[in-house]
């Protein structure tokens, strides 16, 4: 599936723009602040029903306007016309082939998409929540039952934490009440753990292969899933932790504490990895997300690469360009603030690509 045409009205810095895209590679060029990322965000919006950058819908409408519209024509086995209307102080309206969606979550995953952006190094640098978010975001695209279990888990966890926080000081805990939450949380924990474990099994080989390829076998990396659920007597320990939980006023065991450890040469990547190495790792993670989604859905995801060449050495850039030009990849969008570099790369590898110049909210094909 690929995006054939995109029309934006009052979206972010665009007043009115209509662009037709190449089914393969599209280079979006322009100066800082021209609106390159906003164009990618519009595509992201149409597949995830929300912005990748600003989750507050009303703030994605162009300043001093009160409505915004995004329309995309996707061509695949069937033609899909996806449109989204935003209004200040009103619920957004999402339509697929002119039929309004009841639940936004029904649309997520229908058109797989992978976006690589400069902020993604947070997956490595930040706490475990950033890595869980990445894994969960991938799984929720393909597994509705997982999404459901995760939502239930988070809800019950919130209830239990609230209970811990507001429990009267000195009053002995109501064992039966905590058991009501613990039993449900443990049951959900096990289901979530199993799905994450299965995910790691098929995801990790993709990841290791991609990193080796990008880094030309210079460093060896590893990805390890760490979860409290894997230990023996998990349920018993969860319940025995109640005293500690009461003291800390939060739940200290469960899948909300899981982590995915990224290592390089037996050290933590976030401690010793250089900026370029961390960026390479993030790209490898995202490309393996691409492979994983493709293998599970049978559809080729769209690939959005925002400012990808920044911080990478020429060798790594070349590897990447060769890769996305290959058969396995479908439609790709690349943004670059240096037009000469992209033009040179396109020529060097004689790639069939469209280039667009973005300036002051206008997009012109070059």
């Amino acid at each position: 599936m690929y995006l054939e045409k995109l029309t934006l009205t009052n979206f972010k810095n665009y007043e009115q723009v209509a662009v037709s895209f190449n089914p393969k590679i599209n280079c979006i060029l322009g100066l800082n602040g021209a609106g390159k990322t906003n164009l990618l965000d519009a595509i992201y919006y149409l597949t995830f029903t929300k912005s990748a950058i600003n989750s507050i819908d009303s703030q994605n409408i162009r300043h001093s306007e009160n409505m915004s519209a995004l329309v995309g024509s996707f061509i695949g086995e069937e033609e899909l016309m996806v449109s989204c209307g935003l209004r200040t102080k009103q619920k957004k309206i999402f339509k697929v082939n002119k039929v309004e969606l009841d639940k936004m979550s029904d649309h997520i995953g229908a058109m797989p998409l992978v976006m690589i952006s400069p902020d993604d190094t947070g997956i490595i640098k930040e706490g475990s929540d950033a890595r869980r978010k990445f894994v969960d975001g991938t799984l929720c695209q393909i597994n509705k039952a997982y999404l459901n279990n995760l939502m239930q888990y988070n809800h019950q966890l919130k209830q239990r934490n609230n209970l811990l926080k507001n429990w009267p000081h000195g009053k002995p805990p109501d064992k039966d009440l905590f058991a009501a939450y613990d039993d449900q949380l443990c049951k959900l924990s096990k289901m979530i753990y199993q799905v994450r474990l299965n995910f790691m099994e098929s995801y990790k080989p993709f990841f290791l292969a991609h990193y080796e390829d990008i880094s030309s076998h210079k460093e060896s990396v590893d990805l390890i899933y760490q979860s409290g659920v894997s230990i023996e007597n998990y349920e018993k320990l969860f319940k025995e932790n109640l005293q500690k939980d009461m003291l800390l006023q939060r739940t200290t065991m469960g899948v909300h504490r899981d982590d995915f450890i990224l290592r390089m040469d037996d050290f933590l990547m976030k401690k010793i990895g250089s900026q370029g190495q961390q960026k390479s790792m993030v790209i490898a993670m995202k490309l393996s997300q691409f492979d994983y989604l493709k293998s599970k859905t049978g559809k080729t995801p769209l690939l959005l690469m925002d400012d990808i060449f920044d911080k990478l050495d020429d060798l790594r850039i070349e590897k990447l360009i060769k890769l996305i030009n290959g058969e396995e990849f479908g439609q790709v969008f690349i943004t670059d603030a240096r037009p000469d570099r992209s033009q040179m790369l396109l020529e060097k590898y004689s790639m069939t690509a469209n280039s667009y110049l973005v300036d002051k909210g206008q997009v012109t094909a070059i």
């Binding site: 509705k144 039952a145 459901n148 239930q152 809800h155 019950q156 919130k158 209830q159 239990r160 609230n162 209970l163 507001n166 109501d174 039966d176 009440l177 058991a179 009501a180 939450y181 039993d183 449900q184």
Partner: protein
Amino acid sequence: MEYPSSLIEEAVNQISRLPGIGKKTALRLALHLLKQDELETTSLTAALAKLRKDTRYCSTCHVISHTTDCTCKTIKTDLSTICVVEDTPDVMAIQNTGQYHGMFHVLGGVISPIDGIGPDDVHIDTLVKRISASNGEIKEVILAISPTMEGDTTAFYITKKLKGLSVKISTIARGIPIGGELEYTDEVTLGRSIISRRDYHQD
């Protein structure tokens, strides 16, 4: 919105505090009352005041009644089963099915710490007392609580509390509504109904 008098404004503000009623509907209702005979308004306010003042909850089953001892133990009712529900409308809904003739127990809510509702804020203790005091006369407890996460937690908690009392605990079935179309049923409900499917009797 500008109102012609402060009296109307006050009335609109009060009426629009009711659930499901906005400012416009409230204004329409207020103007309607003004058009009618004065007696109609006074009988309405009197009825509301009386409702508030005289309404009692049965001390046994917590159903709304006009005395603290409702008709929950008449000869007609089956005294061996108790149906546990969240609120009074649920009692009426189950009574209207004509399929249940036992007693009721209204919890008055479900456990939800986020909303500040703990086990002490719902009538679970009286349920436990009621069953243990019946000396085995109550044989079954049917949990008819809405299938939400909070409802499930509450049902779970009640089950734990009733442990040790020799009483059968059951819950109402979850599945596809009668006359509903299979293909339009949501996945979670359909999945549940597959898991808790029933045997078909062949004779």
